[in-house]
Every structure is written in structure tokens, then in C-alpha cells.
């Protein structure tokens, strides 16, 4: 049963309607005057010059996480492409040279034109290999092919763009924790 | 300069407007769709308004546009637009009786033209005519001292009032069907209750929100 919202009882002056019109006019004129005299009051972002501040947990373009030796963390398990409702992830697996790891992606493509940015792939990934925290929310391209991002492009990110608290990113090549992580990696204690 | 110009332009304007009026009248006779006819008739009205202005009757010229073109024809066009959804294509323009019907006006026109031609000398312009401006007409119409037309004016008003009432009575489906959706249903009018109330009104579903908007009912069920 829908909730019944009682209509507010109008007073006599509200019924006359004209007084309320003038109140509304005063409000809008106040806004107009404020924006005219003080341009800083305008809430518009001067877009191309000023970029919007996108939070880190905004679901933006994907990236593939990297191991300390710059190989992708992805093990080509197809969990993400199975979870994907838009079926925009195309993975081709191949055998991994590392005997600890069974498979690795030979091809990892995401068609951003199909992607609905739901984040299910990130949820589904068992080894934190795919993330959507690149802050690249505004995607532009000249043709459809530009929107199909491949493995190289997905892995082309800089640890310096990510906060120190993001340990996983800092362990990738170039990150603050990379040297230490590489040692662990070589000694086999890395996980 | 202006009077001389007027002497030349006056007849030109007259023939212009006369030609336009005749042309539009012919178009009214021949055109297929009522809206085309209405536009042709508006053309007649506008050119007649020009003629009235030429014939020293500026007030009637304005009134012709205001009342005829602006109100009556507007109403006609409006009703045509509401009613004629695909109805007009089924009606032939003329039928066999039309030819007989055409004979009468032709006869009449011939008769009138003949009569006017005969009494040509009787109809000449009189020098002492009055220019019927707004003030002149109003002064004559409401001359209560005698010779005024104010009583007739009142009767005209009464007839218009009666016409309004008659039109409302005729066009309303039935006088009870007042679909008052503009009243706030703020008490306890739940959806079911309201639907029952609407269903109680005969034909409310076909009439829609308001009966005054002349919504055409579906064919089935109305006969």
C-alpha cells in the first residue's frame, strides 16, 4: 500500500497565489543578482580548463594490476568475463612460464562501448587483478576501435598516480614498495 | 501628395481585394479539406476587411478581423481540427444533386447582375455620406435620445448569451459528467475508491479528463 501524503492545507494568502508568486520571484532574483555580481557563486565547472575531481572509488576505466616483475596479476580464470553482464571482456588464455601459476592472459581486451561500468568484474576477480580506480571517467575517441582497450593499455599506469596506502599498486614496478616486493617475489615469500 | 495617390491607389486596392475575395470564394467552393476551405474563407474575410476600410468603415474593418477572422473562424478551425480525424476523406466533394444545387446560385447571380445593370443609374456614390469611425458608430448606436440602436444591441447580447448556453448544453455529453480532476483528492480517496467514482460516471473513460475538450468517442458502443 502506497503511503498517502496529505496535502498541506493552504492559508488564505497562499490560496490567493499572487503573494507566493512574488516570494518566488524574489528568490530567483536573489540568485540572479548573486551570480551576476559574484561569479564565484556559480556552481558550474569551467570544464575543459578545470577538470572535475573524481573520487578514487568512482568506477572509471579499468586497469590490470601488475606483479613486481611487471607481469599481469591476472591468471586468465575468466571469472570477470563470466560475471560481466555486458560481455565486454574478451580474454584469451595461454600457459604461464611460471610453474606456480597455471595460466596467464595472452589477450585481455575490454570494449568500453559495451561496458556498463557496473564493477562486477572487480568483485569477481579472485586475485585483485582488475580494478576500476583510474579516475579516467571521461572517455573520448575518434572511432570505435579506440574504445577497445587491450592488455598493454590496461597495464599502462604509473604507481605514482596512486596513494601510498594502495599497497598493491606500490608493489608494482616503479612503486614505493617495489624493490622490497621484488625481493620477496624472488625469494618466494611474496603473496 | 497623399490625396492624389489615394485616387490612384484606391481603385487598385479595390480590384486587388475584390479579386482576392472572389478567388478565395471560388477556392472555398472547390477545395477538398475543410481546413483548406476555412483558410480560403479567412482570405475572403481579410480582403473584405480591406474593402470595408476602403469604403469608409474602419471600425467594421477592424471588427471583421477581430470577430470573424479572429474568433468565429478560429472556432471553426478548432472544431475541424478536433473532429475530422480521417473523416473527411470518406465524403465525396460533390454528388449528383450538386449540379442542380449549382443552378440556383448561378440563376440568382444572373438575376442580381441583370437587376443591378438595369438600375445602374440608381446606385451612385453620394457626396454626403458619413465616414463611420468608431466614435460616429458608437454615438449613433447608443443615442438614447432617439434613433439609437441600443435596444437592438442589448438583444444582440442576449442572443449571444443564449447561443453560449445552447452551445454548452449541446456539446456537453451530459451535464452530470464533470470530470473535476482539478479538485485535490486529499481526504482518503484511495485509488480504488477513485476508480470506482470514475467508473460511476457514464462514459467517463471515453470522455477523458474534461468533457469540454470535445474528445471524439470511439465508434463502437456509442450507437
Amino acid at each position: 500500500m502506497a503511503k498517502l501524503v496529505p496535502r498541506p492545507e493552504l492559508t488564505f494568502w497562499e490560496r490567493i497565489y499572487f503573494v507566493e508568486i512574488f516570494k518566488g520571484l524574489a528568490t530567483t532574483f536573489g540568485h540572479a543578482r548573486r551570480t551576476l555580481t559574484n561569479p564565484a557563486a556559480s556552481i558550474t565547472l569551467m570544464y575543459p580548463e578545470v577538470q572535475p575531481d573524481i573520487p578514487r572509488d568512482y568506477r572509471a576505466r579499468h586497469r590490470l594490476m601488475k606483479r613486481p616483475d611487471a607481469s599481469p596479476r591476472c591468471v586468465a580464470c575468466y571469472m570477470c568475463s563470466t560475471a560481466c553482464p555486458a560481455r565486454c571482456i574478451n580474454i584469451v588464455a595461454e600457459e604461464s612460464p611460471d610453474h606456480h601459476i597455471e595460466k596467464r592472459p595472452a589477450k585481455f581486451e575490454i570494449d568500453l562501448l559495451l561496458c556498463v561500468f557496473c564493477g562486477f568484474c572487480v568483485e569477481a576477480c579472485p586475485c585483485d587483478a582488475i580494478r576500476m580506480d583510474t579516475k579516467q571517467a571521461i572517455l573520448a575517441g575518434d572511432n570505435r576501435a579506440d574504445f577497445v582497450v587491450d592488455k598493454a593499455k590496461l597495464m599502462d599506469w604509473d604507481p605514482k598516480d596512486y596513494p601510498d596506502t594502495d599497497v598493491q599498486s606500490q608493489k608494482a614496478p616503479g612503486g614505493k614498495l617495489h624493490a622490497q616486493a621484488l625481493e620477496e617475489f624472488k625469494s618466494g615469500t611474496y603473496h | 501628395m497623399l490625396p492624389e495617390l489615394n485616387a490612384i491607389l484606391g481603385p487598385i486596392y479595390f480590384w486587388l481585394f475584390a479579386g482576392l475575395a472572389t478567388l478565395c470564394g471560388g477556392a472555398l467552393l472547390l477545395c477538398r479539406h475543410p481546413i483548406q476551405g476555412a483558410v480560403a474563407l479567412i482570405g475572403v474575410m481579410l480582403s473584405l476587411s480591406g474593402l470595408y476600410a476602403l469604403l469608409h468603415s474602419p471600425f467594421l474593418a477592424v471588427l471583421q478581423i477581430l470577430v470573424y477572422a479572429g474568433a468565429i473562424m478560429m472556432l471553426l478551425v478548432f472544431v475541424i481540427m478536433v473532429l475530422n480525424q480521417g473523416l473527411d476523406d470518406r465524403i465525396p466533394r460533390f454528388d449528383a444533386y450538386s449540379l442542380i444545387g449549382l443552378a440556383l446560385p448561378v440563376l440568382l447571380a444572373a438575376l442580381v447582375l441583370n437587376t443591378i445593370g438595369d438600375s445602374r443609374s440608381g446606385i451612385v456614390e453620394h457626396a454626403g455620406t458619413v465616414r463611420a469611425g468608431l466614435e460616429t458608430v458608437a454615438a449613433r448606436m447608443f443615442d438614447t435620445a432617439g434613433g439609437g440602436w441600443w435596444l437592438l444591441f442589448e438583444f444582440g447580447g442576449l442572443i449571444l448569451l443564449a447561443a453560449i448556453v445552447a452551445a454548452v448544453m449541446l456539446a456537453k455529453r451530459s451535464l452530470d459528467t464533470v470530470a473535476d480532476d482539478d479538485q485535490p483528492h486529499h481526504e482518503h480517496a484511495g485509488h480504488a475508491e477513485r476508480a470506482a467514482a470514475v467508473a460511476a460516471i457514464p462514459d467517463a473513460a471515453t470522455v477523458g479528463r474534461s468533457t469540454e475538450t470535445f474528445v471524439k468517442p470511439p465508434v463502437a458502443g456509442t450507437h
Binding site: - | 471588427l63 465524403i91 453620394h126 455620406t129 458608430v137
Partner: protein, 105 residues
């Protein structure tokens, strides 16, 4: 001012009246019937105003006043006529004047 021959005005009025009559008598669509009547009324108006120029002084005003009442009556006629058309179209679902011939039977 210009010198218009009142005869020409009367001729035009006669032509328009004949046209209006022809429309009313020949056309089958009910709207055309109404419009034909309007055209005839207009022709009469024109005739009145044309004749107003042939009589002297105060009497000529009569020619200018009569059309006022004709216009008022025409407005009333259009109003009631259109309401009747709406009423009948609702019942008959037709704009053909033949569909309105019930009174015959």
C-alpha cells in the same frame, strides 16, 4: 479620396453571395455548409456597406450599423452550429450531411 463605383461593390457582393449559396447547396461536408452560410452573411455585410455610400448623411450610418448585428448573429450562429455538429458527429461519426437526414423518416 478614391472614387469607387458602388456598382462594383454590389457586383462583388452578388458574386460572393452566389458563391456562398453554391457552397451551401453543393457541398456535402457539414463544415462547408456552415462556411457557405458565413460567406453569404459576409456578402450581405459588404452589400450594406456598399449601399451606405449611396445615401446621404445620417442614413448612411444605418448601412454601417446593420453589419454589426449581422456579425453578432453570425457569431451566435457559428457557436450553436458548431455545437450541433459536434453533437451529431458524436452520434453519427460522420461529417457527411446525408448522415444527418434522420428527420426525413
Amino acid at each position: 479620396m478614391s472614387h469607387l463605383d458602388p456598382i462594383h461593390v454590389q457586383l462583388l457582393a452578388a458574386v460572393l453571395f452566389a458563391l456562398g449559396l453554391a457552397v451551401t447547396l453543393t457541398r456535402r461536408n457539414i463544415f462547408f455548409l456552415l462556411m457557405g452560410v458565413e460567406l453569404m452573411l459576409n456578402a450581405v455585410n459588404l452589400s450594406f456597406i456598399g449601399f451606405a455610400r449611396t445615401v446621404p448623411g445620417d442614413a448612411s450610418l444605418t448601412g454601417h450599423l446593420s453589419p454589426l448585428f449581422i456579425i453578432a448573429i453570425a457569431a451566435a450562429e457559428a457557436c450553436v452550429g458548431l455545437a450541433m455538429v459536434i453533437c451529431i458527429v458524436r452520434n453519427r461519426d460522420s461529417l457527411d450531411s446525408d448522415a444527418y437526414a434522420d428527420m426525413k423518416e
